[in-house]
Amino acid sequence: MNTRRDVFQAIADPTRRAILLLVASQAMSAGAIAANFDTARPTVSKHLQILTECQLLQQVQTGREIFYHFNAEKMNELVYFVKQFRDMWDERFNKLEDIMKQQKPQ
């Protein structure tokens, strides 16, 4: 079954959050990532699959191994979501300013 995945689902699990922190600093193979956890290898594989489906990780074939790369751009979706609460008014007014600058004077 192909379930709909999004970035929010990706960070809902503590192991997946730990994986993201690991891979954010350097691309790693599935084996190297799994070595950091006590969890069974298939469980880690499942987490990697979900993170890849959510596009927070990208698989890159390097020689015989697949390396997982962190996708910072996708992570920004989360940042944006949180930011709009923090700077609610400021965000809106910045947008207002941008929109009105593009308007022709009446």
């Binding site: 400021d90 007014f93 009105m100 004077p105």
Partner: protein, 158 residues
């Protein structure tokens, strides 16, 4: 952050000020033209809809915020008491099922030159408790963190 939120302890009002690099006419239009309002009130996660919008004396309005899946995230509505072009808008505001009750808002539009203007929103809440409910919302943290930082820097200068 260009938007300044001032909330004095123990008071039931809130002051929001913001300067724009826009003529006051543009700033005002952005508040009364529906097609402009929905643009700046929307974001990638929620689209603003104006179910009803009558920016005039005794007119009323009803905003709906809808997420990507089509769910209504929140409803807000109120009544316009005065709409004076390029000068002010006085209205009430209520977020349905929100914790902060009904707010009376005085928005003043001020020209600071050909391409500069200022918006001042003075919101009056039913009680100190209701106003403080609004301040609990997470956007406030950004402000507090900034203020803490200023405090910290200031103290290091002593």
């Amino acid at each position: 952050m260009k938007t300044i939120v001032t909330a004095e302890n123990g008071k039931q009002d809130l002051l929001i000020t913001r300067e724009f690099d826009l003529p006051v006419e543009s700033l005002f239009r952005a508040h009364v033209e529906p097609e402009l309002i929905v643009q700046w009130m929307s974001n990638p996660y929620a689209t603003a809809k104006l179910v009803k919008f009558e920016p005039k004396k005794h007119g009323s309005y009803h905003y709906e915020s809808v997420d990507a899946a089509g769910n209504v995230v929140f409803n807000s509505h109120g009544v316009f008491h005065d709409v004076l072009p390029n000068t002010r808008i006085i209205r009430t505001f209520e977020m349905e099922n929100g914790p902060f009750g009904i707010v009376l808002e005085f928005s003043e539009f001020e020209s600071l030159g050909a391409n500069k203007s200022k918006l001042t929103i003075h919101g009056i809440y039913e009680s100190v408790v209701k106003r403080d409910e609004l301040l609990k919302m997470p956007f406030r943290e950004g402000m507090n963190m900034a203020h803490d930082k200023i405090q910290e820097i200031g103290e290091n200068l002593k």
